[in-house]
């Protein structure tokens, strides 16, 4: 029996066989003999999650545009499938051609979330690829990228290359370098030295790390003679309009998380919220032109048959010609029954009116993210919204017939006090009052307010990268405090989570190279799909830390002095450390920094050629 037949036998026995089936419309098939290199894009979570990810669509498209390379998709098999694969000696395979992952030239892994790290080790093991880069003299080159790549140290021993920043050009540079090296027949070490010269590439094996007696990092230096740079700068695509963007996307069978056309209208964000990593690492703002967006929308609708286009970005309301764009798209697609949606939580009124008028927006819950309960704390995190903004938004919504509001907050933000926590309940109470202020005959019956509270995880490359995470005991106490206050308000649904997953997330967000041992041990103990509540095994994680001598508190709940060498200091994400220090100090004083469209705030991204012109 060949591999494909063996796979099909297993599919009869698993929960969701369609996740491993392949053969979707617009998936790319090539003749293996016609290409010089084969690239496996591994998304370390399930098919349903991975197929909703825009970055993968972009890279899949841009690699497959090359006649000399073939990019195929690989997802983490769910636990039932993974166990069956092990029992039956079936290696991890690609969806398109069902080729074992270990037979590819290169495997690219996207790092979207720290809690998917054990899935990466699980995938490598299922593929039969040695976990540690140092143990691999042959087989595929492993590359990682994505937002978490800006602190790649917890994964450094497992990857050959780290691709920082925008992938549209960088991915081709890496493939070109690989093809050039393959021709020479030189050993892998030579490839690593060649790759270290590529714009945006960091090669972990070429650096030496020294530690102080107190466990902090003393220095991170390129190995002598390696030719690796002291600081690795991210790759930056300045012109998004000219950059590759898929004109065909795969249409999955079955429902995936976001089953629609995703149109990235711009990259980056100018708001400068201090807790937000995306807002820092994706700088500067780069818009795709309206003409290009309309052209892409046309092609994508024709190529997929989707009936919804989502205008994506970190803050879609900030697109400079948003009303024009939305209006034009609604005009073009109304007759074709294609809906236009905006995932952004900052919808300005002009736009809401445009959309409301023309396409009968379904009145699902209005989602707003005040993030913190008091103005003081919202100023600390530089979330430029006031209580008046919020009151105006919800009053408008209730007046127009909405009856459901979702409010998102974070618990454990730096400087947070009980007063800030109780402020969340005050806000919910005020939102409730807004509803009852609307005359009874005008408002929709059945008010629902959802207060959803997550636990703050301080991230690298943000002004809060020096801040301690709130201890789990304190998180639980404050969650209870808030719960008691919210219980007194009718019609409020309070959602919160146990803080243990966020605690582990905090360890790896700011972990150094030594945390890799704990990660590997946790995986050996059976941890996988840690972001899934029903799979997360806190006790195994604690056992792994214990056995590897890694103190999780050192990484999660310790406040760092400003002069400490941080494990990611040799990686340049665009903004400078000086800027982050300045923002941290302003945060502690509750001082705001304005949106940089109103004047440069000196974040440092201007150091990049062609940025912010």
């Amino acid at each position: 029996m060949n591999l494909s037949d063996k796979i099909e036998q297993l599919l009869m026995k698993v929960q969701k066989p369609a996740m491993y089936m392949g053969g979707e419309f617009n998936s790319v098939m090539k003749d293996p003999a016609s290409v010089k290199m084969r690239y496996a894009f591994l998304f370390p979570d399930t098919y349903d999650v991975g197929m909703s990810h825009l970055g993968m669509k972009i890279l899949y498209h841009t690699i497959n545009k090359r006649p000399d390379a073939w990019c195929e998709r690989v997802f983490s098999p769910w636990v039932d499938m993974a166990d069956l694969m092990r029992e039956n000696d079936i290696p991890l395979f690609s969806l398109e051609s069902r080729t074992p992952v270990k037979d590819f030239d290169m495997v690219g892994v996207t790092l979207q979330y720290e809690m998917s790290y054990t899935n990466i080790l699980e995938a490598l093991d299922l593929a039969g690829i040695p976990l540690r880069a140092a143990d691999r003299t042959q087989g595929p080159i492993l590359v990682c990228g994505g937002p978490c790549a800006f602190n790649p140290e917890p994964l450094a021993p497992f990857f050959d290359l780290v691709a920082l920043g925008d992938g549209e050009k960088e991915t081709h540079d890496i493939i070109d370098c690989y093809l050039a090296w393959k021709q020479t027949g030189a050993p892998k070490d030579e490839f690593l030295r060649m790759a270290a010269k590529i714009d945006g590439v960091y090669v972990p094996a070429l650096y030496d790390i020294a530690y102080n007696d107190d466990g902090t990092v003393a220095s991170i230096r390129p190995k002598e003679g390696s030719g690796a740079p002291e600081v690795c700068f991210k790759a930056l695509v300045n012109d998004l309009t000219a950059a590759d963007y898929p004109e065909k996307i795969i249409v999955p069978y079955g429902e995936v998380v976001h089953n629609r056309i995703m149109l990235e209208i711009f990259r980056g964000c100018t708001r400068g919220c201090r807790f937000c990593q995306a807002g820092m690492i994706y700088r500067p703002v780069r818009e795709r032109s309206m003409d290009r967006l309309l052209e892409l929308a046309d092609k994508l609708v024709a190529a997929t048959g989707y009936d919804e286009i989502s205008l994506m970005s970190l803050s879609s309301g900030d697109y400079s010609c948003l009303p024009e764009l939305a209006h034009e798209m609604v005009r073009k697609y109304q007759a074709r029954r294609v809906k236009i949606s905006l995932p952004s939580q900052r919808i300005d009124t002009v736009l809401t009116d445009t959309l409301k008028e023309t396409q009968k927006v379904r009145k699902t819950a209005l989602t707003l993210a005040p993030e913190a309960g008091t103005q003081r704390l919202r100023d600390v995190i530089n979330k430029g919204v006031t209580e008046e903004d919020l009151i105006r938004s919800v009053s408008d919504a209730f007046d127009q017939g909405w009856n459901a509001v979702k409010l998102y907050f974070m618990l454990g933000l730096p400087t947070e006090t009980d007063e800030d926590v109780l402020g969340i309940a005050d806000l919910a109470e005020k939102v409730r009052a807004c509803y009852f202020a609307v005359p009874k005959e005008r408002r929709a019956p059945g008010l629902r307010i959802v207060v959803s509270v997550s636990v703050f995880v301080p991230k690298n490359d943000t002004p809060f990268q020096w801040s301690p995470q709130l201890t789990q005991e304190n998180v639980i106490r404050r969650q209870q405090l808030l719960g008691q206050a919210l219980r007194k308000i009718r019609g409020v649904d309070y959602k919160y989570h146990a803080p243990d997953i966020s605690y582990i997330e905090a360890v790896f967000a700011r972990g150094d190279r030594r945390t890799a041992d704990a990660l590997e041990r946790a995986w050996q103990l059976g941890c996988r799909f840690d972001g899934w509540n029903d799979q997360f095994k806190y006790d195994k994680w604690m056992q792994a830390f214990e056995e590897t001598g890694v103190d999780p508190d050192f990484y999660a709940t310790r406040e760092r002095p400003l002069d400490e060498v941080l494990p990611w200091d040799h990686i340049d994400c665009g903004v400078t450390k000086e800027f982050l220090i300045r923002e941290y100090q302003k945060a502690l004083k509750g001082e705001l920094t304005h949106d940089c469209r109103k004047g440069c705030v000196g974040c440092g991204v201007k150091r990049y050629k062609g940025a912010c012109v």
């Binding site: 099909e8 009869m12 066989p17 419309f25 998936s27 069978y253 079955g254 997929t304 048959g305």
Partner: protein, 217 residues
């Protein structure tokens, strides 16, 4: 005007559920550029009907979808448009145009033909089955399990030289015999590597003969 499309479901896509296939066709029809008629209401969707649902894991060369069009379209043009909108493993095999007043096709279905590989059924088992008047088997339905006599629902059956079982079995809302149930009744178990393939859907023809559904048009 209505467009009746016969298509196949090849091995690679045999794990798409019937529900997912319905959703998939909504998008596929949007891609065709054909003047598909949409339902009224808040969430308009193409007006379409499927033939009998194929079980997960089975393949087929006789799946039928009935789609309402808002304008007349030439059958050949429609076939080309459908082919372009479907993946390789859902091949378009036949397209016919019928008037809006043509009765719905699906109630016409009375039986189906199957090709069953690696069934483990022997000639001897088949002969015994043929001679029996009653063969009781437990059929699982939505409302529970029920013991039924499956023998009258098996119209034709034979083994080919290479041991493939061919069977023509009743397929109506009241009386349906699924090929896997027949195999289980014959052999006592369903072998792991068994492959079921639907070769046609049949309708009542003249003088009680059963003819392929598309020929009924």
């Amino acid at each position: 005007m209505r467009m009746i499309v016969r298509f196949g479901k090849r091995a690679r896509l045999r794990f798409i559920s019937h529900l997912d296939l319905q959703r998939f066709f909504q998008r596929a029809l949007n891609r065709t550029g054909l003047p598909i008629a949409f339902s009224n209401g808040f969430n308009p969707h193409p007006v379409m009907a499927f033939g009998s649902a194929l079980a997960l894991g089975w393949t087929s060369e006789y799946e039928v979808i009935d789609v309402k069009l808002a304008e007349d379209v030439d059958a050949l043009a429609a076939k080309e448009a459908m082919q372009a909108a479907l993946p390789e493993d859902l091949p378009v095999l036949e397209v016919k145009m019928v008037g809006d007043r043509t009765p719905s096709m699906m109630p016409l279905v009375c039986a189906a033909r199957y090709r069953i590989e690696n069934s483990g059924v022997t000639q001897e088992m088949l002969d015994r089955f043929r001679q029996a008047e009653t063969v009781m088997a437990v059929r699982k339905t939505k409302s529970g399990e029920k013991e039924v006599n499956i023998r009258p629902m098996a119209y034709e059956f034979a083994l080919t030289e290479d041991g493939t079982l061919l069977a023509e079995l009743s397929l109506t809302p009241e009386n349906t015999l699924k090929p896997d149930l027949m195999v289980k009744a014959l052999t006592g178990e369903i072998p792991e590597g068994m492959r079921i393939h639907r070769t046609s859907l049949l309708a009542e023809g003249e003088r009680g003969r059963r003819i392929p559904l598309m020929e009924k048009l």
